[in-house]
Point group: C2
Chain length 192, copies 2
């Protein structure tokens, strides 16, 4: 995953994902919409029916060590599993204070004190995940994290989200939206 992959998440009246729930966890909310679609590519033009668009780009890893990377790759499932008909899109913005920390300080909060990777590993392979970076694109959020799971793993996913929100790292989150989605299209799920 070395090459950056751009994606635009479009909330509006169309798209294969039905919005089951859209809630502000912290800070300002986003308008509630009925459907969500995901458009790949940098030059994507959102449909005219878009109520909001959120853009992001996959990037190189920022905090994970080689040992953690290997553990993640061994256990993480691909996106687009046919049974993974539930998804969550969680846009997050962190505080200026977080961004003014140096790399070693952010890493220490992220993993040594908040166990972000270690906690995430416990939920593999149930939950598939892809992180998109938005901050350097001039977007209103810093990250968009996309999760996919089967209906049977919905409770497990709630537990993962609750544990992460209870960490020291999350005290640096100043805005967070939780958007839950159900695959609702005639076609089967396909890889994002």
């Amino acid at each position: 995953m070395a090459m950056p992959l751009h994606a635009t998440f479009v909330g509006g009246a169309t798209g294969p994902w039905q919005v089951d729930r859209l809630a502000a966890v912290r800070g300002e909310g986003l308008p509630v919409v009925e459907r969500l679609s995901v458009i790949e590519g940098r030059e994507s033009a959102p449909p005219e029916t878009a109520v909001w668009t959120l853009r992001g780009v996959t990037s190189n890893e920022r905090y994970v060590t080689r040992t953690e990377h290997v553990a993640l790759v061994e256990r993480q499932p691909p996106l687009g599993r046919p049974e993974a008909t539930r998804a969550a899109l969680i846009p997050v913005r962190k505080t200026d204070q977080w961004w003014n920390l140096s790399q070693d300080e952010r890493r220490a909060i992220f993993e040594e004190r908040s166990r972000h990777v270690s906690i995430g590993l416990e939920y593999l392979p149930a939950v598939a995940r892809r992180l998109f970076h938005s901050r350097d694109l001039g977007e209103r959020f810093d990250f968009l994290t996309w999760f996919e799971y089967a209906p049977a793993d919905a409770e497990v996913f709630e537990e993962l989200v609750a544990r992460l929100r209870a960490t020291e790292e999350w005290s640096s989150v100043e805005r967070e939206i939780d958007i839950r989605l159900v695959w609702d299209a005639e076609t089967r799920r396909r890889p994002l």
Copy 2:
């Protein structure tokens, strides 16, 4: 410097910087131009006379520790010093292999083995510097580094560049252009 600052470097027939030299250090070159201008802001429209444009964004630090950060901040000069009438714009692209390394591996090459920060510190406060990230913007280079120095420090700057190019880190550079500039405008230098 927490908020991302977007900039577009425009090579063409206009601009306050006269291009003294434009050379490919490694990989494909860029068309030679006479002048360079720097436009701030994300939505900047380059002039029609542009031969090429290079876009980048300042971002949070990626490798530097708090101790290194403090040492840099104590010694680094601001951009736009009136006497700093020489500049260099050095676009660099690193290999896929570099980007596939984990954070701890990149950090080890960057500083523990290549002494990127330590070497740079030796050239402060003579050389002012600002790093722009381009990779996640879908640009052809990964970084654009902008340097400013006085004519009297030109040799010192050559030494800095030569030392960095001799490091292990630089074996991961697959494309590099070296553009040298002279301030040539009726107005005095002003902060970038």
